[in-house]
Subunit: 202 residues, 2 copies
């Protein structure tokens, strides 16, 4: 199916994915229906099933992929250049700002726990996203080491994993309570502790 799409077809398909993503963020995976998506994207049932023959699940996975592709992109260029403490702080502020602005309309919220558990494809997407996210953080820590701002002996992967967990937790709490206190605290403390790890040895 993929190769046979005309330009018009491709346009419609991505209109569907983008519109579906918006609907899912607004209404949540549970209560979003194909009719909602049809209304939003000005498409008909037959179009939905034309582009996603396996039905709703296939569409959800496509949306998951679409959202996942944007999560890290949205943190650029900061996430890709974590080579100084200033860069880390800039990145931190961007992340906080972005998630505060999203409020409880989180693209990850749709993936995380909602699609993820039901369809195996979506779980793979989340795993891959986490892997890449953590790898970006690890790369940032390594470049601080290269700069001599952090000692070489640091357990980079453990640091990156803990930082990633802190972010995810902060976001989860933001989603379920509406408060960003924890996200802020997690990121500030996480980076401060990383810095202190340098001072301790240096």
């Amino acid at each position: 199916m993929r190769g046979e799409l005309t330009a018009k077809g491709r346009a419609t398909r991505s209109r569907i994915v983008e519109g579906a993503a918006a609907v899912l963020r607004e209404r949540g995976v549970a209560s979003a229906t194909l009719d909602d998506i049809m209304a939003r994207t000005r498409t008909s049932k037959s179009q939905l099933f034309h582009y996603f023959p396996a039905g709703k699940d296939e569409l959800l996975v496509a949306v998951a992929q679409f959202e996942a592709d944007h999560v890290l992109e949205d943190q650029q260029p900061y996430l890709g250049r974590l080579d100084s403490w200033e860069a880390w702080e800039q990145w931190r502020d961007v992340v906080i700002e972005r998630y505060e602005a999203q409020g409880d309309e989180c693209p990850l919220g749709s993936l995380f726990l909602q699609i993820g558990r039901s369809t195996p494809g979506a779980r793979a997407i989340v795993i891959e996203l986490m892997r890449r996210w953590q790898e970006s953080l690890a790369a940032g820590i390594r470049s601080l080491q290269a700069n001599g701002r952090l000692p070489a002996g640091l357990d980079v992967d453990a640091r990156a994993a803990a930082l990633l967990a802190a972010i995810q937790g902060g976001v989860s709490i933001l989603l379920s309570t509406g408060r960003s206190t924890h996200l802020r605290a997690a990121l500030h403390q996480g980076i401060a502790d990383l810095r202190r790890a340098g001072d301790a040895v240096a």
Copy 2:
């Protein structure tokens, strides 16, 4: 309604709540039906609506409360006595062990993001749980300060918030990827950093 329940009624009601909780953990909030719950708890439709007149939503909130009540209880007595580094480590290991055993059947997973967003009552329950959890961690930090194992100048609330976020993130990642690496890293690093905060000043 509450006050009028006979002993038999109370027994049935809690059988429903407990059974529903089990069903929700197994099948997820999205795909669990009243029929599933009826089958599991050996009750009829009329019983469900007798005890929860407002229907499924009311039952879900009751389950949320039930689960929330158990989350902190399950971490006792460790969570209540975080007055030495050994106690923190014991608590940490209990938490990790418990969540690893649960795998993706997490009571919080049901609350967090799934019930929470739809019904306002459930959100309040999650907020209260987070508050109490964080307060327990803060109390632990304060008792370390009282012992002289941590300096008095520490920002206790920020530390506790960050630690809570780390846990939640670790659990979220465990739920969506099936791996507990991040939960372990988050707790180990979090406690290690707390300890280092003491050394730095002491």
